[in-house]
């Protein structure tokens, strides 16, 4: 039993280190492609943490949804918008980063203090361990039935919304003059439609 507990502790330390270092890399690395792949590693490590917490179903859902769908979507978007562009320097960028870092550190201190000083109701009821998948299914079809159905509606709305937002609207006839439009002009039009107000 001691060996199992120490193995669990070592796994937790390794997974936690991978999560923290990986997320720092996601935020700090200059190349965004590296960030996206590190994000996949972070998601996999979080799935490992879920396995340590006896939640095999949620770990599988994490791998399927986050690594399989969200991360692939992010890499896809990077490949679509990956243009080498020189970012214009901003005044006071270092100062801004420093101040926001201070704010985030204070937030971290606050959260850790809350974590450590709250009297959690330990130990709770015994864990059901491997029966968690069955219990999740019971929850989803009894007392969480309405949120479950709403989630399906939400996913449908997100899917339709994403299609509407991301497709390229090109009409092949002019609506008023009823004439054919030259497609090449629209395709080759590179100038931005909105006025650039950054300068």
């Amino acid at each position: 039993m001691h060996i199992a507990q120490y193995t669990e502790l070592i796994c937790f330390i390794i997974l936690g280190a991978v999560i923290i270092i990986g997320s720092l890399g996601v935020v700090l690395l200059n190349n965004i492609v590296y960030s996206a792949f590190l994000l996949g590693g972070v998601f996999m490590s979080i799935a490992g943490l879920y396995l340590l917490l006896n939640a095999s179903f949620v770990a599988a859902a994490q791998v399927l949804v986050y690594v399989g769908a969200v991360n692939v979507l992010i890499i896809f978007a990077i490949m679509l918008v990956n243009k080498r562009e020189e970012l214009s320097p901003i005044k006071g960028l270092k100062l801004r980063r420093f101040i926001s870092g201070g704010v985030c550190t204070c937030l971290l201190g606050l959260l850790i203090r809350v974590n450590l000083t709250t009297k959690w109701n330990m130990p709770g009821p015994a864990s059901i361990g491997e029966g968690s998948t069955v219990r999740i299914g019971e929850h989803l079809f009894t007392d969480y039935l309405l949120p479950f159905e709403l989630a399906s509606v939400l996913l449908l709305m997100a899917m339709i919304g994403a299609i509407v937002l991301a497709r390229r609207d090109v009409l092949d006839t002019d609506e008023e003059a009823q004439e054919k439009i030259k497609q090449g002009i629209i395709e080759q039009k590179k100038q931005p439609l909105l006025i650039d107000q950054s300068s």
């Binding site: 923290i20 935020v27 960030s35 917490l53 243009k83 980063r97 361990g129 219990r135 999740i136 939400l154």
Partner: protein, 109 residues
């Protein structure tokens, strides 16, 4: 498998790990200039919340694992958010030909 949740790892270790991940996500959300990286930071923050929910579900609510059900819902909403966010990003990129967050100031007064 039952006594593993009462093992050597305290609940606070998971909470502190989630707090670290959340703060890294907040810092990245504020400081990223690439819009895709902002979306990645949001995903990091959502995952920090999920770790919290899972730890509470395993340590304090072991018989009725309501935290795990909630985590499934959070994963669903996060997937929808990522899809819509990246679609908005693509449409922005088509109009402004950049993904620099500093140039998206159309709604700034």
């Amino acid at each position: 498998m039952i006594e593993t949740s009462q093992g050597l790892i305290p609940l606070q270790a998971y909470l502190i790990l989630a707090s670290l991940l959340f703060c890294i996500g907040v810092w990245g959300l504020i400081n990223s200039r690439n819009a895709v990286r902002v979306l990645m930071s949001i995903e990091l923050m959502l995952n920090a919340v999920n770790i919290n929910l899972m730890a509470f579900s395993s340590y304090l609510d072991g018989s009725l694992i309501r935290g795990q059900v909630f985590t499934v819902f959070v994963i669903t909403v996060a997937a929808a958010e990522a899809a819509v966010g990246l679609a908005i990003l693509l449409s922005l990129y088509r109009n402004r030909v950049t993904v620099d967050m500093e140039s998206f100031n159309l709604l700034k007064w």
